[in-house]
């Protein structure tokens, strides 16, 4: 076992013994209200993200037109980061 694997195995053991901290529990609760049975996966969101962001940039109510995508963005911070970054690109390049 190399050092990296050893560290990972220690980490995994540490993980199992660690109880869920309050902030993790609260963070989990915060998104529950927005969770619906129908889910949109990260891949589905990515497939439509360009269309969604263009709608926003053109002043359309993208959240209303594509509600499932909006709900995913509210829950998934990684996809939300990508949404914000793409929005920044389109908005800033449009100003030039």
């Amino acid at each position: 076992m190399n050092i990296k694997d050893l560290i990972q195995s220690i980490r995994h053991r540490f993980q199992r013994e660690q109880e869920l901290p309050d902030e993790v529990v609260k963070g989990f609760l915060r998104v529950l209200d927005k969770v619906r049975k129908e889910e949109t996966t990260c891949n589905e969101v990515f497939a439509q993200l360009d269309e969604y962001v263009e709608k926003e940039v053109h002043g359309k109510d993208a959240a209303h037109l594509m509600p499932l995508l909006r709900e995913h963005l509210d829950i998934c911070s990684h996809c939300c980061d990508e949404y914000e970054a793409l929005l920044d690109v389109l908005e800033e390049t449009a100003k030039e």
Binding site: F14, V25, V35, L86
Partner: protein
């Protein structure tokens, strides 16, 4: 730079020789020009990481665009679609680099594995925490422990406590980002259902913590 319609981009990039080269040069410029805006929330242009990251991401974006050209459905401008791919590559790479760097720092600085500060801070109830809040937290934690599968728990610990990026956590759990998201989605649904069965809503539980 030539102004191209979506159709022109596709045909030029599928062409041979000079036409394709010119299209690639233009696309490279468009991607490299957009990336600083995409990264602006996370990385300063003064950072030593900035220029190499932009170069690396631009190159990788062009390769991926050429590889996935047939999947472009024309639901946006072609350049928006390309920026989207660049954003995904850039943020994935940035998260990976940052997480790797901090992990390396931890290993160098600490002989023993560090316990993240916020976990230590959370271990004891704060002075403002009431008995009601402590009881509620214990109840929710018990429900979570009962409802989460070991895999869901592992994912939550990796993403929330160790701040491992989604892609890295997926790799470590031998799955992919999509499946990992679904795993957490299922966990949220289970918890929501269980809270409902116990006559609680997430909002009620949270508001218990906001009471002074």
């Amino acid at each position: 730079m030539t102004n191209r319609s979506n159709e022109s981009w596709l045909s030029d990039l599928r062409a041979d020789g000079v036409v394709r080269e010119e299209a690639l040069t233009d696309l490279r410029e468009i991607v490299a020009h957009g990336l600083p805006y995409a990264l602006s929330r996370w990385l300063s242009p003064d950072s030593a990481l900035f220029a190499p990251l932009v170069d690396e991401v631009t190159q990788e974006t062009l390769l991926r665009v050429l590889d996935q050209l047939d999947t472009f459905e024309g639901r946006s401008m072609f350049t928006t679609w390309v920026h989207k791919i660049a954003v995904r590559i850039a943020l994935t790479e940035l998260r990976r680099k940052r997480w790797q760097d901090s992990s390396l720092d931890e290993i160098v600085d600490n002989e023993e594995l560090p316990v993240p500060a916020r976990i230590i801070a959370d271990r004891q109830p704060g002075p403002a925490e009431t008995v009601e809040q402590a009881d509620m937290m214990a109840r929710v934690r018990r429900i979570l422990e009962q409802e989460l599968t070991p895999k869901q728990r592992e994912a939550l610990m990796l993403l929330s406590i160790q701040d491992v990026p989604l892609e890295e956590a997926a790799k470590r759990m031998k799955t992919n980002r999509n499946a990992l998201y679904k795993l957490l989605h299922d966990a949220r649904l289970r918890l929501k259902r269980r809270l409902t069965n116990e006559g609680l809503t997430a909002q009620e539980v949270l508001s218990a913590f906001e009471k002074k």
